[in-house]
Amino acid sequence: MEVSWLHLIPLLPLAGAAVCGLLGKWLPKAWLYAIALVTVLLSFCIGLTGFLRLPEEVPIFHEVAFNWFSAGSLHVDMGFLFDRLSGALTLVVTGVGFLIHVYSVGYMDEDPGYWRYFAYLNLFIAAMLTLVLGDNLVAMFVGWEGVGLCSYLLIGFWYTDEEKAYAGRKAFVVNRIGDVGFLIGIFVLFNATGSVSFAQLGVAPLTLATASIAALCLFIGAIGKSAQLPLYVWLPDAMAGPTPVSALIHAATMVTAGVYMVARMSHLYTSAPGVLALVALVGALTALWAALIGTAQNDIKRVLAYSTVSQLGFMFIGVGVGAFFAGTMHLVTHAFFKACLFLGSGAVIHGLAGEQDLRRMGGLRKYMPQTAWTFAVATVAISGIFPISGFFSKDEILAQALHTKAYDFLTLGPGGPHLTSLGTILYLVGSFTALITSFYMWRCYFLAFEGEYRGPEGVHPHESPGIMTSPLWILAALSVLSLVIGLPEPWVRGSFLEHLNWEHFTGRLFSPPRGGPPAGFSPWPGYLVALAIGWAGFGLAWLLYAPARAASGDDRFAALFPRLRNAFANKFWVDEFYDWLVVRPLWSFARGLWRIFDATIIDGLFINGSAQLVAWVAALARRFQNGDVQRYAAVTALGVLALVYAFLLRSSP
């Protein structure tokens, strides 16, 4: 259905950003907060209204705001597409975004750059909404790069700290690498179909080769944006930004854009099963890789960052096995509990006057009970312990991986072995990762909230004000309540909950994988295993980091696996490896190229060399120009003789 109000959803926060950014310095604080919050809230309300009024038969709202640019055969509209997927994500973005705005009012109140902060935050919401709502790849790319920009600005928010500024730059550049992949993906699709809009791409017939290349290129974009191997390195560093930013951008919304894009392009990805398998594999590897690193981090935000990378890996397993609904469902639930976790960590940091080191926390449950409770709820959710949302969404992914038929047609090379067992491998890796996830999340909880207070002297841990704790409670509640969208479809069939069931809800939205969706399996075995895994992780954490002796838990862990833990703690030396492999060689190469090629060969040898040659010739010629007029006259006479000779004796008969 064509409507004319969709553009308001991203436009309102954008207007808020403009007002805050241009006038914020002079506006009274209260006004500024009001503008920033109300614009987001209004967007949420519009989104909610639209969501509830989506027509049943064709659940799509569509609007072409204006023709952005067209040249040759290319036609790019600034158009918006509001269907069940983008609608739900709009609600998540504006909803969680609004809560984080509220939280930020408390968190950033004392920072002199608060107006800048809210401008960026609103700009981010606008960009993210453009990404989600864009009805074509280019509009999506606008949001895609826009969120990257906001991420850059917010990570480097405290720009006087060189390291934080560097982290922002790193995030942007690494994202750019992915973005270029995304761009090339757009070009491939345009080259093949002559269009960039989802509506036409969703039905365009594509050859396997084109689909694979396009899917691969777009996935490179997703790898960058969603921090997957090998481009995940920016996300942990991105924790340099204010904590609410980490919650909103680097956990709940922006980083999930890659998952959203793959789901949005399900038609393309199901046409390229090889790339689909790659998506799942990358997701699984990243999930495991980041979870392992997460076990040995001491910065509370870094633990959460690696857990985000790991959870994103889970989502990619979900979309990679063709279960787009499972991946996106985890996206939604993850948004709630991860935002809750990050905000909780923010409250901890706030209450400890900036302390982020888990080793210098402990026993905080006594000082900040609300934070501790909500943190615990979210930890339960992420560990996949029954019955909170994470359990269902994560298990749905694993179950879909185990039973997937997406790879049935896939062989390893022409005539090679079939890849039917790939799903099982993914399941095993995913389950093991779930175990580790549960372990490190509980470790984090125990270290921070249980045991004795080990923090710095003179700091009085205290609970945060209500404006910060209330979003925590709401998010914790959402983490619990969102379990309803993950209940297995057979359980809710017929009841009013059916409409809330994610699989049912998004049913017609995604193209099924080539082998069709897995059907007719019982969820119970998977649930039992998952339950066991969740508790096992908790148990392991308890063994090593039991509240009473949490402080020495790391030592016990190190005693068990000394080398492994060292590798985890050093993040597998990936940053150092990239530095050695790419960063430093590139800069040295640039300098060498400049000195040797540009300055010496082109400029020195050719340019100044030819000038030098002219100077030599001139120096030679100068010896004849000695100022003696009579010698000039003599030479002239010689010339006249030559001319006369030539004219009179040579040329005429």
């Binding site: 100068r622 120009q625 000695n626 100022g627 003696d628 007029v629 009579q630 006259a633 003599a634 006479a637």
Partner: protein, 115 residues
């Protein structure tokens, strides 16, 4: 009259002009005194004038292609004379100016033009 033309065609005048030109050129090349150099230049100019007049008098075609006919040769001589007068005036002025600063009129001592 006719016999005279028979005996004295342009070539005699041209040879005379060549010799006069050579004299002037030799003066320019050989003499150091700037005034004499200038006078030698006048000689050369007159040699050129002589050629103009000779060719104007003994044309190879019946009608001149130029407007004004063969008198154009005379017009050219007229301009040369005017130019020569101007040149002599400026040249002598330069000689005076140089003599003031260098107290010499020897051209081989004037070499400030060299790079």
């Amino acid at each position: 009259m006719v016999d005279f033309f028979h005996a004295h065609q342009a070539q005699h005048y041209l040879v005379l002009a060549a010799l006069l030109f050579a004299l002037g050129a030799a003066g320019v090349v050989l003499r150091r005194n700037a005034i004499i150099v200038l006078m030698s230049i006048e000689l050369m100019l007159n040699a050129v004038n002589l050629t103009f007049l000779a060719f104007a008098r003994f044309p190879l075609v019946a009608n001149s292609p130029m407007q004004g006919g063969f008198s154009q040769g005379h017009a050219a001589v007229f301009f040369v004379i005017a130019t020569a007068a101007a040149e002599a005036a400026v040249g002598l002025a330069i000689i005076i100016a140089v003599f003031r600063s260098r107290t010499s009129v020897n051209v081989d001592e004037f070499d400030s033009l060299k790079l």
